[in-house]
Amino acid sequence: MDELRLQVEDLTVQYGAYTAIAGLNLGIPRGQYVVLIGENGAGKSSLLKCVGGWIRPSQGSLRMDGQLFEEHERALRAQVKLVPDTPAFYPELNAWEHVDLVMSAHRRRRDEDLRREARSWFDAFGIDRSREAYPSSFSRGMQYKLAIIMSILTRPNVLLLDEPYGPLDPASQSYLAGQLTQLAAMGVSIIVSTHLLPNEHPPERVIMLDQGSLALDIPLSEKWNPESDVPLALIPEQLLRQVLAERRGLPHE
């Protein structure tokens, strides 16, 4: 568990004059389920995009399993999957064909277990009847579910989800949280950027960003336990208020 899967060293991301992330240092062990919180513009999405290899850092470096990302970009990128808040799809392929595409591109088209697993995901997410429909006719939540299924089927070592719970219905939120916990147990490192948490299946660690810097990095157990009266769903909001108040010298209840 302590073996570091992902190391973020002195990471800076700039868009012109705007600094989204400023000198961030982080280590994510193998098989850890981490929740990333922060205000709008705190740098959460930029961090995920950087780790996913979608944007290049302005400064600093990223290591996966000890290997520098910039030196082994292609090989390492294949092990990371990021689901953005609005994923794109092929206009001319139906939902199931997207799953086919993923399996085909990863040379696993004949893997019946994977196919069965895909079916069970469709079923659990309640989109089984829409398998033959174009994703462009889906609602945002359905599109997000499809994107999650596609990403998980590639068996990534690092899974990054940007605001996954927002578009999902409560039943799907709980199902996803449960599956993420299981994936973490299988060794997948998971970073979820969110303001929402389902009440079951808590993450192990909470990281908070504030204006591109690390504001908080603690095990969730420090702030919450299953016997607590406070529902898990309220923890991100509470932490956000508390830490921001401390950092900005504001009164906090």
Partner: protein, 493 residues
């Protein structure tokens, strides 16, 4: 009245914002409105108006010079021609959704209890004003070509006549959109057949509005002509006024979504027609059931199947590749004919506007969005080959077939064959070079069509300057060498 003012104010602000964008592009500073900025805006307006008037006057003169008086036989045929055009205008209008709303109007105006006549009014007035101006200009050019007296007056008469016909079609379209269960499908066919049937029964010219357009040419009866067309126009507007309250806004909302999305692109619409094409394609696809199934088997079979079913599901692509094949063949003909040394420049100009025939469409979809791209473990160079090989071969096959089958051709030599292949490869790789470079830099894939134009333009230029198509092969060879380097190093990941 309050509703009218409120909607009018919104429309005014929207138009103003659009005008301000273009004025800003031309250097007017809308942040500091002062007298000098206003004068500069007026100065620009005067230049544009002057340019339009001078261009129009030039075209009118050319049309007069090239044309001649209309013969008695054609004068006799004109009413029928105008009537047939009128039938087409009415049918075209009936087949369309009458009122198209943008975002904002769709969400707030359409569900409100506001009188339906108000959005109809604000849709109709600018549309008809623009149409009147366009048809008047075109009509006056045609009138000048047939040496008609007072060609501008005749142009205006044609413009008003067009508006009258369009108004009747618009009214019918409003009526069509009044059904709670959605617009009556196929009504336009009934209208077309009905009007053609009516034309075959009622041949008397006085019955049809087109009669009035011809009156100045046959009897110099200008006043009667304008009064007659005016009466038809007022009748058309009256029909709209009566039909407007019954229009079903749910139908309008459903039919306006695509239009609203395109409008939502705002000022990006003008420089990026690819985005509009993409939106139209998505809208068409989401209304259809997916045909066929991707094949079982190896990844390469899957690739072929994906391409095949994409073509079946979006048949417009087949037409585009066919067009591209013929276009490449035209390039070959121009390069082979030494008598027309500068014609290739026109060919390159056409190539610039021929952006929809992109061979890299599948490649762009595979790698253009980072979410989709992360599912392809190949390098960019590998992905380019696998996603564009089939369309490239398809285009080449049609181009060669057209070369053999079509009568006007050039001799079938190895040099010419290589030139044709070189053109296709340049079209393909010219765009691919830019896409790969853009993805490596900032991830964008728009505007890459220019790469195709530059590559094929360079080929045509070298071929024309050295008077031999074979010499032009240097361009695709350089592109292939560059691509081979990418393939070898795998640097473009």
């Amino acid at each position: 009245m309050n509703e009218l003012i409120a909607v009018g104010r919104i429309r005014y602000r929207r138009s103003r914002a659009q005008w301000f964008y273009w004025l800003k592009v031309l250097g007017v500073d809308d942040q500091k409105p002062d007298i000098w900025q206003s004068l500069y805006a007026l100065y620009l307006l005067a230049i544009v108006c002057g340019w339009v008037v001078l261009s129009w006057a030039g075209i009118v003169s050319i049309a007069h010079y090239l044309g001649g008086p209309v013969s008695a036989l054609w004068l006799h045929r004109l009413p029928l021609i105008f009537t047939l055009v009128a039938i087409l205008v009415v049918t075209w209008q009936v087949a369309r959704i009458p009122l198209r709303l943008g975002h904002g109007d769709l969400e707030w105006l359409a569900p409100s209890p506001i009188s339906r006549r108000i959005p109809v009014l604000f849709d109709l007035i600018p549309k008809q004003a623009v149409r009147l101006m366009m048809i008047t200009l075109i009509g006056s050019v045609l009138a000048s070509a047939i040496h008609a007296p007072q060609y501008l007056g005749l142009g205006l008469l044609v413009g008003l006549w067009w508006l009258a016909m369009e108004s009747f079609g618009y009214a019918a379209s409003l009526w069509r959109a009044s059904r709670p269960r959605g617009p009556l499908p196929g009504l336009w066919i009934a209208v077309l057949l009905g009007l053609v049937g009516l034309l075959s029964v009622l041949r008397a010219p006085m019955v049809w509005p087109s009669h009035f357009v011809i009156l100045p040419l046959t009897e110099h009866a200008w006043q009667t002509a304008f009064m007659g067309v005016g009466a038809w126009l007022i009748a058309g507007w009256l029909a709209i006024w009566l039909a407007a309250p019954s229009v079903h806004m749910l139908t309008i909302q459903k039919g306006s979504v695509l239009y609203a999305d395109i409008r939502g692109l705002g000022t990006r619409y003008a420089p990026n027609p690819g985005l509009v094409q993409e939106l139209r394609q998505k809208a068409v696809l989401s209304r259809r059931r997916p045909w066929g199934r991707l094949p079982e088997g190896s990844s390469r079979w899957w690739e072929l199947g994906r391409w095949f079913w994409s073509m079946v599901r979006m048949p417009g692509q087949i037409l585009r590749f066919f067009e591209l094949s013929l276009f490449l063949r035209a390039g070959l003909l121009l390069a082979s004919d030494r008598r027309i040394s500068l014609a290739w420049l026109i060919w390159v100009f056409v190539a610039y506007w021929f952006r929809r025939a992109s061979l890299s469409r599948w490649f762009r979809t595979d790698v253009g969005d980072p979410f989709i791209r992360q599912f392809w473990p190949d390098t960019l160079a590998h992905r380019l080959v696998w996603s564009t090989l089939h369309p490239l071969l398809w285009v080449l096959a049609i181009a060669v077939a057209a070369w053999v089958i079509l009568p006007a051709g050039t001799e079938f030599t190895l040099t010419h064959l290589l030139f044709l292949i070189g053109l296709a490869v340049s079209w393909w790789l010219g765009e691919a070079v830019l896409i790969i470079r853009q993805i490596d830099n900032d991830g964008r894939t728009d505007g890459a069509h220019l790469g195709s134009v530059v590559a094929v333009g360079a080929m045509m230029f070298v071929g024309a300057q050295l008077h031999h198509p074979g010499a032009a092969l240097a361009v695709p060879i350089i592109l292939l060498l560059w691509f081979f380097g990418q393939w070898q190093t795998g640097s473009a990941s």
